[in-house]
């Protein structure tokens, strides 16, 4: 019981202090909260990183299916972090040290760009599966939205002229209004979630 009360108190204290910086906008308060948030995130990242390593090395130790990939993942993470710490410490330039930067630019960014290049294939496959498995009117609206964007933004092709003034007068306001409605719906949901957490109606720490 005491544990619950303490958790609820600390959670509410966090929420109220975050809200206070908006209601009573003081630079020092906002700066302190931002610093506190990033500090806690950094310490939580250390815990997460250790759990990440533990999970992968446990898979390696148990020779679980796909363990060589776990080994590569864990070693890559450790190697990059070690390189950054050693080189950054020796040169005093932190994460912007030459070798760390080289690995970031030529290995990590290459991999990210290549995975990004696979994105259209994943997305088209997902769209195809959606059309095949879900027989709903909403799927047709979804596909219409996708096609509208592809036609409207196919620069260099005569396709945008197919839409003519329909895009400017009807489709563009519909898209803007629809996205605005979605954003506002999500925002209302977030506010409700915050109020429920503040009133301890939702107990995120106990899940």
């Amino acid at each position: 019981m005491l544990r619950r009360v303490m958790l609820a108190g600390f959670l509410s204290l966090g929420i109220l202090s975050a809200l206070l910086s908006y209601v009573w906008p003081q630079m020092i308060l906002r700066q302190s909260l931002t610093e506190l948030g990033s500090t806690l995130l950094a310490y939580a990242a250390i815990v997460g990183f250790l759990s990440f390593l533990e999970a992968h090395f446990r898979r390696v130790g148990a020779r679980a299916e796909g363990w060589p990939y776990s080994l590569v993942t864990a070693l890559a993470a450790l190697a990059f972090l070690s390189l950054s710490l050693v080189e950054g410490g020796l040169r005093g330039s932190g994460i912007a040290s030459p070798w760390t930067n080289w690995v970031y630019r030529h290995v990590l960014l290459s991999l990210e760009a290549s995975i990004g290049a696979l994105l259209p294939f994943f997305m088209i496959l997902a769209l195809w599966r959606l059309v095949r498995t879900r027989h709903s009117t909403y799927v047709l609206f979804f596909v219409a939205g996708v096609l509208t964007m592809l036609v409207a933004y196919s620069s260099g092709l005569p396709l945008p002229s197919l839409l003519g003034s329909l895009y400017e007068t009807f489709l563009s306001p519909l898209i803007t209004g629809g996205v605005r409605g979605i954003l506002m719906g999500v925002a209302i949901g977030v506010v409700i979630l915050m109020v429920r957490a503040l009133l301890w109606a939702d107990r995120p720490m106990e899940q």
Binding site: L19, L33, L78, L118, M149, L174, V179
Partner: protein, 204 residues
């Protein structure tokens, strides 16, 4: 003689793009490398950009208020790390509760001041038209409200409006999906261009 950067980039690109043939071991290896390096980079960024500057400041700061604030931050941070030790679990939970509270509070305040207010202002500025109708329908589609008066007619009208709202959602989400797809296609063109240029240089 090609630069080592080009060879590494080409090799990694080919490894990832081998997925187009099949879910190969080479692709999985490259994907594992990507995950590992990303995690390592995130961790290094946290240490160099957040923790080390804070520890350095803690050693040198003279202002007592600032020192107190830094001690609170470091103390709460260390309490989060205590979560890894089962005996000290409560201490870690309290640090996490504060962190979660600040996160939820900032998200809630951001939702009000960063999304709801600006979007309402922008929406009202556009006047009555298709945009406003789409916004209202999309909001009805998320079912935060139900009219207190019930009846066959009212229920049918309400169901119809919500169906229209969901259709607006589907269309708008489709356009967002299309936007991401266009970005992906641009990346694909960029990588294809890189491959073609590299191979044509080697061919010469």
């Amino acid at each position: 003689m090609e630069s080592i950067e080009t060879v590494v980039g080409l090799l990694l690109t080919m490894m990832i793009l081998s997925y187009l043939i099949d879910d190969t071991a080479v692709y999985r290896l490259a994907a594992s490398l990507l995950v590992g390096l990303s995690v390592g980079y995130f961790m290094a960024a946290m240490i160099w950009n957040v923790l080390i500057p804070q520890w350095r400041e803690l050693m040198t700061v003279t202002d007592s208020l600032r020192r107190g604030l830094l001690f609170v931050q470091v103390g709460l941070g260390i309490s989060i790390m205590a979560k890894g030790i089962p005996r000290l679990g409560l201490m870690g939970d309290l640090g996490l509760a504060i962190a979660m509270g600040i996160g939820v509070g900032t998200a809630g305040a951001g939702a009000v001041f960063g999304t709801l207010v600006p979007q309402l202002t922008a929406g009202m500025g556009q006047g009555i038209g298709v945009g406003l109708l789409a916004t209202l329908l999309a909001l009805l589609g998320v079912q935060f409200y139900r009219p207190p008066v019930r009846g066959l007619w009212m229920d049918s009208i309400w169901a119809g409006l919500q169906a229209l709202g969901r259709a607006v959602w589907a269309f708008a989400l489709g356009t967002l999906f299309g936007g991401v797809l266009i970005t992906g296609i641009s990346l694909l063109i960029g990588q294809a261009e890189f491959l073609i240029q590299t191979f044509s240089q080697w061919w010469r």
